[in-house]
Amino acid sequence: MTENNPVSSSEITTYLHEFSNGNKKALDMLFPIVYDELQKGAHHLRKQFFNLDTFNTTAIVHEAYLKLIQAGSFDVKSRSHFFFIAAKAMRQVLINASLRKQTLKRGENPLKVEMKDIDNNIHLSDQTAEDLLMLNDALKKLEIQDERQAQIVECRFFGGMTIEETAIALDISPATVKRSWNMAKAWLYIELNEQ
């Protein structure tokens, strides 16, 4: 997508400002760009860290941010909003990779997911893929119960965002983030284990 329709850094900045000002449609514009960048980032970073024993989703998000947004041109709020989008995108990247893994394993024709959207660079183990898919299902349930808590999970877990960043992105107090994060994790854990 980006290969064919390169989006300039200033365009992204504009979209992000719109998003920060409450224009939810800007999210639809930004999401695929960020999604794409995260996929590439995973591959790119891996090359740099060639022999890493640990690899960090947070690093990929940050890398994408640096790549897409002109350095220094952003306030903390917009940056947090970017991370919020990136967290959602990362969730999607990982879930798609998990789905791919599962469908390959079962030999099914992946009807639900179009192959071209599926990341080719990320390879998850069976266990991780299974855990992620289950987490995703539980997260969907949580979204119905309490959307805010689900967003906190996205930010904290998938986006690797700090409590501060999460608080700014969601416009709530850090204390609330902390408490809700605590409860959401516990709830998801119970949900996963009772299935």
Partner: protein, 859 residues
């Protein structure tokens, strides 16, 4: 279920201790809450918190791991072609790469190689460049313990690959643990690893990824290191991006500084060698995080002890020392601070070598006990090396230079000599400057060759032979020192008959005299020092009074050991008189003179006076500062002897402990003077009836002295004498006799048949025969002893009293009551007269008299 209500209750509980949750929830939940199960839910959420945390961090870690391990399926199957090779089978599979056994496909000749293909694509252009650069360096690696690298590059698909020597073998850890390898073989293997590393380091290549999986051992037991230098190609990519948290290498086999992204270095390789060695020895992975730096060595030692490590036939003290050495070596490899590790692999190898040969390690702080034990265990090793660190070497050189400066008569001469010294220093083994250890003796050996080649300036040549001889002498290389003295003498012979050369030659005679004095040849020493004094007298105006005093001091010392204590006092007083000519200057020669007087008075049994002189000497010495030098040592030695002779044995031992330390500092722990302090100390332990201590010291010393000086040397004889006394005291009389005869023979050879030492020898034989109830032999020997003592000391000497006492005892046993009481009376009378009632000799006579009293009265 009311979600908000759950959140609210959950939130309230977060800040309270978990034990209060249940009660609080019970009190605060309404019936409606409870009917919905909200109370149960809240409690469940609270209790799940830590498990949830664990789950999420585990999942996070798994995701990270999976992202890091890009297992793109680029695997090859048997029969697949790879360049000019065909895949035989996969032989290895790691996170990063697969390794295949391949054979050449062109049918030209049989060649098996290992091909390692990375699982992930690299930046093709970058890697290609890198390979080109590095291949030249790597092609230079040609070592039997390093697998050859034949080729490397990028596959058409973009995967980096390496073609290397195929090594059939097991990973070293597997090999060692499976074969339950004996300690010696294990060390041999590890040394092979070290040798290979050292080779590469010398070529400025660090391995960077040393771990057991990279060290294979063939069926024949040969080590091959894999992947050498490859890391430099691979990891250089990462340097390009300058990531602060970039981390490479295998986590389990990483050096601490790598976590802070320090570049790969020799030090990090040494750390990893330490990890591998630790694993081989203990079959455990070393976890540095558990350990405080100062506890490391102890912890490691404990692990080694707990491990199943078999040290072969090694038992007891040797086993203990080897374990401790291993712990010391490991903790030095594994120091968190890279600068505290071995500076090079060769240094590590050196210490391994020291451990095996029972030399003290450089990695261990030398305590007296440690080095003593080492020397004892090394007894069959006849190498006498005085090893020093650079610093000590420098001290020797500074000393050397200062020797010259004392004798500077002209500027040209000073410059010549200093240049010469620096020349030797520069030409020394280049490793010297890398913190390697070199023996001073080796260094001096080097310098002797240079002195040999001096032409045109015989006067400098003579002086350099002389100085080098002095240093060798001080290092305990007496004979080689003496050789050089004689070389110097030869050169002096051909010098023109000028007074200044005459005086220089007299100085030389003085040192030669000291050599023969030390060797226990007082007659020769005396004739030589007399020549010195003749020349000094003839050129009196040009010789300093300090030099004259020095010569007289030697003469005094010689007289003393030649059993002429009165003369000893006289000559030492002469030395004092020369010194007093410069009455305002107090020098070490004063102390020496006083010490000589003290020693001679001690020989004359004038202990109170002797102690007085010794104390005065110590007082003067304190004025001169706390410099540790030969005079201080001699004084303390005599002081200790005087203390011991006055029966203050414990005090004497305390002084001797200090002496051993001083001597070690001054001459090195293996020097003869240090040995002599130990010998005297052993003597005092013997006096305290602590035979186990004295015997173990003496046996060690005997071995060293026999080897170094031969069986008739004074020191060898003294040790044998001490051992004989000890065995006698332990009632092992046959064994005592054995040593007593050896001592006697040696003493007769050295001092002639009329020397008091020989008297002592007969006396001892007499005692042993008496205990073995061979009374005729006992009588014979005791009377021989008596005769010699009388000739030397006259009637009034405590030794005479001692012999009389024993003769009395002998007659008692022979039931000759008259002679018995007669000789006891004589003994008692003399002892009271000479040394007084409190002296051990007197006490002992009285004690024996009491033992035989009943017997006497019964007759």
């Amino acid at each position: 279920m009311n979600w908000d209500r759950v959140s609210e209750l959950h939130e309230s509980c977060l800040d309270m201790p978990s034990r209060q949750w249940k009660e609080w929830i019970d009190q605060n939940c309404t019936h409606e809450d409870k009917s919905q199960g909200i109370d149960t839910m809240v409690l469940k959420l609270l209790k799940s918190s830590s498990k949830a945390d664990a789950f999420f961090s585990a999942l996070h870690k798994n995701i990270d791991d999976d992202l890091g391990d890009e297992s793109e399926d680029n695997s090859l199957k048997p029969g697949d072609k790879f360049g000019k090779f065909r895949i035989t089978r996969e032989i290895g599979h790691g996170g990063m790469a697969r390794v295949y056994l391949c054979s050449r496909d062109d049918g030209q000749f049989e060649q098996q190689v290992a091909v390692k293909i990375m699982k992930m694509k690299g930046d093709v252009e970058f890697l290609k460049d890198k390979f080109r650069q590095e291949q030249q360096i790597l092609a230079g690696i040609n070592h039997p313990n390093i697998a050859r690298l034949y080729d490397g590059g990028i596959t058409p698909e973009g995967y980096p690959y390496i073609v290397m020597e195929y090594v059939e073998g097991r990973a070293i850890d597997e090999y060692c643990h499976k074969h339950n390898l004996p300690f010696n073989e294990l060390i041999e293997l590890f040394k092979q690893v070290c040798n290979a590393m050292q080779y590469a380091h010398n070529k400025l290549i660090v391995h960077h990824d040393i771990k057991p999986a990279n060290i294979l051992v063939s069926k024949e037991g040969n080590v091959k290191l894999l992947d050498f230098g490859i890391s430099q190609v691979i990891f250089s990519q990462e340097k390009e991006v300058q990531k602060e948290d970039a981390f490479s290498g295998t986590l389990k086999y990483a050096a601490p500084e790598q976590f802070s992204s320090a570049p790969p270095s020799v030090e990090s390789d040494i750390y990893k060698l330490g990890l591998v060695f630790y694993n081989l020895l203990t079959n455990k992975h070393y976890d540095y995080t558990r350990m405080e730096e100062q506890d490391k060595e102890k912890e490691i030692l404990k692990t080694i002890k707990d491990s199943s490590l078999k040290l072969g036939a090694t038992r007891g003290l040797k086993e203990k020392l080897i374990r401790e050495d291993l712990a010391a070596i490991l903790s030095r490899c594994l120091a968190t601070d890279p600068s505290l590790r071995f500076m090079s692999v060769s240094e590590l190898l050196h210490d391994l070598q020291n451990m095996l040969r029972m030399y003290p390690l450089h990695s261990r702080k030398a305590t007296l006990g440690y080095s003593l034990a080492k020397r004892y265990l090394r007894n069959k090793k006849k190498v006498w090396l005085v090893t020093f660190f650079n610093l000590a070497l420098l001290v020797v050189l500074v000393f050397w230079i200062s020797q010259f400066i004392q004798t500077i008569k002209e500027k040209e001469r000073a410059e010549y000599l200093l240049a010469f010294v620096f020349d030797i220093f520069e030409s020394a083994d280049p490793e010297l400057r890398q913190g390697e250890t070199v023996t001073v003796v080796e260094l001096l050996e080097n310098s002797i060759e240079k002195i040999d080649s001096i032409e045109n300036r015989p006067e400098f040549q003579a002086e350099l032979y002389h100085s080098t001889g002095m240093i060798l002498t001080r290092l305990g290389e007496w004979e080689r020192g003496n050789d050089l003295y004689h070389k110097a003498l030869e050169v002096f012979e051909i010098l023109p008959d000028k007074p200044e050369y005459q005086i220089d030659m007299a100085h030389l005679y003085r040192d030669i005299a000291a050599y023969y004095r030390n060797l226990g040849e007082p007659a020769l020493a005396d004739s030589i020092i007399s020549r010195t004094l003749e020349i000094y007298t003839a050129n009196s105006s040009q010789v300093s009074s300090a030099d004259k005093a020095k010569a007289w001091n030697i003469k005094a010392h010689v007289a003393r050991i030649d059993a002429r204590p009165e003369e000893g006092v006289e000559f030492a007083q002469k030395a004092m008189s020369f010194l007093d000519q410069n009455s305002d200057v107090v020098s070490w020669e004063h102390v020496t003179a006083k010490a000589n007087i003290a020693a001679a008075l001690k020989d004359l049994s004038r202990y109170d006076e002797s102690l007085q002189e010794a104390l005065e000497a110590i007082e003067i010495m304190e004025l001169l500062g706390d410099e540790i030098n030969s005079t201080r040592v001699m004084l303390y030695e005599n002081y200790a002897i005087a203390l011991a002779q006055s029966g203050k044995t414990e005090q004497a031992i305390d002084v001797q402990k200090e002496l051993v330390e001083m001597n070690t500092k001054l001459y090195g722990e293996q020097s003869p003077t240090t040995m002599i302090s130990l010998m005297n100390m052993a003597g005092n332990y013997y006096r305290l009836n602590q035979y186990h201590v004295s015997d173990s010291i003496n046996l060690m010393l005997l071995d060293v002295f026999m080897d170094r000086f031969g069986p008739t040397n004074n020191y060898t004889l003294s040790v044998m004498y001490n051992l004989s006394s000890s065995f006698y005291s332990q009632r092992k009389f046959e064994k005592a006799l054995e040593f007593q005869y050896q001592v006697l023979e040696g003493d007769i050879e050295n001092f002639g048949g009329e020397h008091p030492y020989v008297a002592g020898g007969y006396y001892s034989l007499g005692l042993s025969y008496m205990e073995l109830e061979q009374y005729e032999k006992a009588r014979e020997n005791l009377f021989r002893s008596l005769k010699i003592y009388e000739e030397n000391y006259g009637e009034d000497h405590h030794q005479i009293a001692r012999v009389y006492g024993k003769i009395a005892e002998l007659y008692c046993r022979l039931e000759d009551a008259d002679n018995c009481s007669n000789y006891f009376d004589k003994a008692y009378e003399i002892a009271m007269d000479v040394v007084g009632e409190e002296h051990p000799t007197t006490q002992s006579i009285v004690e024996r008299m009491e033992v035989y009293e009943n017997f006497l009265s019964g007759l």
